[in-house]
């Protein structure tokens, strides 16, 4: 197995989080699952650093944008996941440095491809 990349997954829905973590782990990644913003903060303190973050916006208020800003400051690439396609959310995400916005339900195959392309070589 190639050297495992650390992926941070933030999701308010526990089942979503578990499925996402299970799926990425099966693809050979090390996943840190965060169910809340404080959990995400703690994960970002950890060592070794996170290589990529997946942020599911559902269930979070505007404080989630502060975390996005923090990820950009640290040069951690991230994808935003949204329950529906909304132009305002997409614009806000991209302006905060998101590599893109994905709309649920995600296609497992394209998610994996996207994750691979965003992970630093």
């Amino acid at each position: 197995m190639p050297d495992a990349r650390r992926i941070l997954a933030l999701d308010h829905n526990k089942r979503n989080l578990a499925l996402l973590a299970e799926f990425l782990a099966k693809a050979g990644h090390t996943v840190t699952a965060a169910n809340s913003l404080p959990e995400m903060d703690a994960a970002l303190q950890g060592d070794p650093p996170v290589d990529l973050a997946l942020i599911d916006l559902a269930g979070f208020d505007s404080r989630v944008w502060e975390r996005c800003d923090r990820l950009r400051q640290r040069h951690i690439p991230f994808l935003v996941i949204s329950p529906q396609h909304r132009v305002d959310l997409e614009r806000a995400s991209l302006s905060r440095g998101a590599k893109g916005m994905l709309v649920k339900p995600l296609s497992a195959k394209s998610l994996l491809g996207l994750v691979q392309s965003l992970l630093p070589a």
Partner: protein, 391 residues
């Protein structure tokens, strides 16, 4: 017959017994094997279609329990009804489910109470794999000879698109058949989710319907075998399902077409009614009569009247309207003797003699006498000579 599940899975001896070239598997339903020309061909997949309450599950239970009686390994895959409920219902209908292995893949009640819902991936991405894994494991462990799958409609919601769905169902059926199973799978075809595609995948299609006139069963496809076409009457009772094949009308039709018959005589309507086991005689006879007329065949219907003498009735069971011509034979008591008379009651397009004539059965055949005139009350069976003084 006390057999544990483990005992039967470790018995490989009868796998080969079921593989004979002309071997047929009984469905366990009275009359259905007759419709299927002896039963189902093994190692094939059959689609069982019908709306709710049409008897799909009951037929499936017949199919499986018939297998367990001959010590076959059988598997019930349920994607909707929970095992406990199925067992209760089956016991209520008198099915012995000993030896039937259940694979309950329906959602558990915890699914709702724990609100384990998700939206990150579509259900097809999440549920399909564990479902497939469970089925594959069960099939490879048990190597069932009969599989009842209730119902494939659930699979449809687990597929990303129609193409995937068809591909999955086809490969799944092939997987089961390759493992030695004869498969009966159900589907509820509705307007929102038509299931016509399944008909093409199946080796045979059995349709169940529940119309106001009664329940019917029809076979619309059976690869590699003939079958009795048409809607056959079906009953769901306290002891399960029974099918009443339209055997006579089908046989008559076949014989007329193959042997180019010109005249068909049914002797008698009462016997024909008996073979129909209480189903709608008039409708059946009507259809048969219309068919024979359309192909230019004359039909003679013998209708035995119940009364030797007494009040005259043209026919029993209101079948007189079916015929173009009615000839009747009648006993009469004359001078203390039993005598016979013949008369015409109805003749389409033409005149006929209105009087009755005496007939005799002689060694040279039937002998028709002179018109019986000068009598009254002949139809009542006890005629009097007109002009004679009452005793």
């Amino acid at each position: 017959m006390a057999r544990s599940k483990s005992a039967e899975t470790s018995d490989p001896t009868h796998t080969d017994a079921a593989d004979g070239a002309n071997h047929r598997l009984s469905t366990g339903v009275t009359g259905l094997d007759e419709v299927l020309d002896g039963g189902l061909l093994p190692r094939s997949a059959y689609l069982l279609r019908g709306g709710p309450g049409c008897g799909k599950t009951t037929l499936g239970l017949h199919f499986l329990t018939t297998g367990t009686r001959s010590k076959e390994r059988v598997l019930y895959i349920s994607l909707s009804e929970p095992e406990g409920q199925l067992r209760r219902n089956a016991n209520g209908l008198g099915f012995n489910l000993e030896g039937v292995t259940f694979l309950d893949l329906g959602p558990t009640s915890e699914y709702f109470s724990k609100s384990e819902s998700y939206d990150i991936f579509s259900p097809s991405e999440v549920e399909q794999e564990p479902l497939t894994r469970q089925i594959v494991q069960a099939v490879e462990r048990l190597k069932p000879q009969r599989v009842f799958l209730d119902s494939t409609t659930q699979f449809r919601y687990l597929s990303t698109d129609t193409f995937q769905y068809r591909k999955q169902v086809t490969s799944f059926l092939r997987f089961l058949v390759n493992h030695g199973a004869t498969v009966l799978f159900t589907s509820e075809g509705t307007q929102e989710t038509p299931d016509d595609d399944l008909k093409f995948m199946a080796d045979g299609v059995i349709e169940l319907a529940y119309a106001p006139e009664g329940r019917t069963l029809s076979v619309i496809k059976f690869r590699g075998s003939s079958f009795l076409p048409g809607d056959h009457s079906m009953r769901l009772g306290a002891d399960g399902m029974a099918v009443y094949p339209k055997i006579f009308s089908t046989k008559i039709r076949r014989d007329v077409e193959e042997q180019h018959r010109r005249i068909v005589m049914i002797d008698s309507i009462a016997g024909y009614a008996l073979s129909m086991r209480g189903r709608d005689l008039t409708t059946n006879l009507h259809a048969l009569g219309m068919y024979l007329k359309s192909v230019g065949v004359t039909l003679l219907l013998i209708n035995e009247t119940e009364n030797i003498t007494g009040e005259f009735r043209a026919t029993d069971g209101n079948v007189s309207y079916l015929s173009d011509n009615i000839v009747f034979l009648r006993y009469l008591e004359l001078d203390g003797q039993m005598r016979k008379a013949i008369g015409v009651l109805k003749k389409r397009a033409g005149d006929f003699e209105k009087t009755l004539r005496e007939i005799e059965i002689t060694r040279y055949g039937l002998k028709v006498g002179k018109p019986l005139t000068g009598l009254r009350g002949i139809l009542g069976g006890t005629p009097e000579i007109i002009g004679a003084k009452p005793a």
